[in-house]
């Protein structure tokens, strides 16, 4: 039986390793086979931290800190659109969900968005065009670019233009027609 104090040392040592890839895990598993389960569980926890990032608001943070944070961060226009309502919003705009996700995560260059589409989006969300524009002009959501097995800390993703996004997304005929109309009334791209 491995001494509990040593086990703690091993698990902490694993947690602060610069990388948590296959090689690092294998090294620890080979050296400390008695701790296999704990090492695998820890590997999963480390993945969660690396991939999901930290909570936006601490669970029992003082009210002041929460209020401050809310003040700094403009309202998330997509707060009311989750799950089924998110899908319904995409349907009402006649676009695939993946395109709407790109807008939600602010992965689209704001200046490349046709006015017709911007109007359609604001109407569907029930916000002013200015509010939608202000939302989209904030930096992209970092978490959106995480690679499933990233070795390095994820960086802010590159944005794409509206036309690139449309080009690279599989569309139904009717979606394509709708988006082509958005693009044709506009010479931004």
């Amino acid at each position: 039986m491995i001494d509990r104090r040593l086990a703690e040392d091993v698990l902490y040592a694993f947690s602060v390793e610069p990388k948590h890839d296959r090689q690092t895990l294998e090294n620890y598993l080979l050296r400390y086979p008695e701790l296999a389960e704990e090492l695998i569980d820890l590997s999963h926890e480390l993945r969660l931290v690396a991939e999901l990032g930290e909570s936006e608001v601490p669970t029992d943070a003082p009210v002041t800190a929460t209020a401050e944070a809310a003040e700094r961060r403009p309202e998330n226009l997509f707060n009311d659109f989750k799950g089924a309502t998110f899908a319904a919003l995409a349907n009402s705009l006649n676009i695939p969900r993946s395109i709407l996700v790109a807008f939600r995560d602010r992965l689209v260059v704001p200046a490349s968005i046709p006015v017709r589409f911007l109007n359609r989006l604001s109407n569907a969300i029930g916000a002013s065009v200015d509010a939608v524009r202000a939302y989209l002009e904030q930096p992209p959501t970092v978490a959106a670019a995480l690679s499933f097995k990233a070795d390095q800390k994820p960086s802010v993703p590159d944005q794409v233009t509206f036309s690139e996004l449309v080009r690279n997304t599989p569309l139904t005929e009717s979606q394509e027609a709708e988006l082509r109309q958005d693009l044709s009334g506009d010479d931004r791209n």
Binding site: F14, E37, L48, S98, T169, P170
Partner: protein, 269 residues
């Protein structure tokens, strides 16, 4: 320069060092009057240039605790507590469907256990020197993940989350489909936008699996093979100490459950 750490590495016996960026931040922060330092610890946004890294906050807290400076200790301890809560992974945000009340209760127990463990370490550190806290000055968030992992084992939430997620239909088709999803996650740029969202949901769903299935999936994500003829290769069979068939069954059950969780999520969207 900040006082060096004391914890020795298991291999080679050299002493742990803070990463260069943490040392550089500490050098600058230690020049500040303590009042100003405390004020800056109130900044919660990591993007803010004046944000104090948690590694540095903990370092100063340990110093202040030893000097018995009550007021500053209280303030810094409050900020550190917030950092700990923030560092716990927000799986709930991405968990498919609704988590049951027992899940939330377990999450609260885990959180409390992590905080209690941290309090104990700080107490010991005040009296003597708690070397385990050195790890938190090296990579705070990852050391918190270790504390959480240990707490989670203590809380043992398996019993009440096992059965309802179980799927009886275990056709190979399901397995292939989820396997294809794993591959697509890494390779297909067309799905990039939707994938990032899907990936987080997949991770959250993995977190809901029973322990034995979750371990197989974690090893699969690390590319560790189920079995091998080469006696030196690390395999799931060796690491988990069970038969190849058992590993495959666990993997298939896990894939079926994940598929069910994620497709249920898809239907509700």
């Amino acid at each position: 320069m900040a006082e060096p750490l004391r914890k020795k590495k298991l291999e080679g016996g050299s002493i742990y060092q803070r990463p260069p960026n943490v040392e550089a931040s500490l050098d600058a922060l230690l020049l500040l009057p303590i009042d100003q330092f405390v004020q800056r610890c109130a900044i919660t946004s990591r993007g803010d240039p004046k944000y104090v890294p948690s590694e540095c906050l903990l370092h100063v807290l340990r110093q202040v605790a030893r000097l018995n400076n009550g007021d500053h200790f209280e303030a810094l301890f409050g900020f550190l507590r917030q950092r700990i809560l923030k560092a716990l992974p927000p799986v709930e945000r991405f968990a498919p469907g609704d988590r049951r009340a027992s899940e939330s209760a377990a999450a609260a127990d885990i959180r409390d256990a992590v905080l209690a463990q941290f309090d104990q370490m700080l107490c010991r550190d005040r009296l003597d020197y708690e070397e385990h806290l050195d790890f938190f000055e090296v990579r705070f968030d990852m050391a918190i993940a270790k504390a959480r992992s240990t707490a989670r084992r203590k809380v043992k939430r398996d019993a009440d989350r096992d059965a309802p997620l179980y799927l009886n239909d275990e056709s190979n088709e399901h397995t292939r489909e989820v396997e294809a999803a794993f591959v697509r996650l890494q390779s297909d740029p067309v799905y990039e936008f939707e994938e990032s969202d899907y990936r987080k949901r997949l991770l959250a769903a993995i977190d809901l699996l029973p322990d034995d299935q979750r371990r197989v999936i974690e090893l699969q994500l690390q590319d560790i093979p189920i079995d091998s003829c080469d006696p030196d290769t690390v395999t799931m069979v060796k690491v988990l100490g069970c038969a190849e068939k058992t590993v495959r069954n666990r993997r298939d059950r896990a894939h079926a459950t994940l598929r069910k969780l994620l497709s249920r999520e898809g239907e509700s969207r």
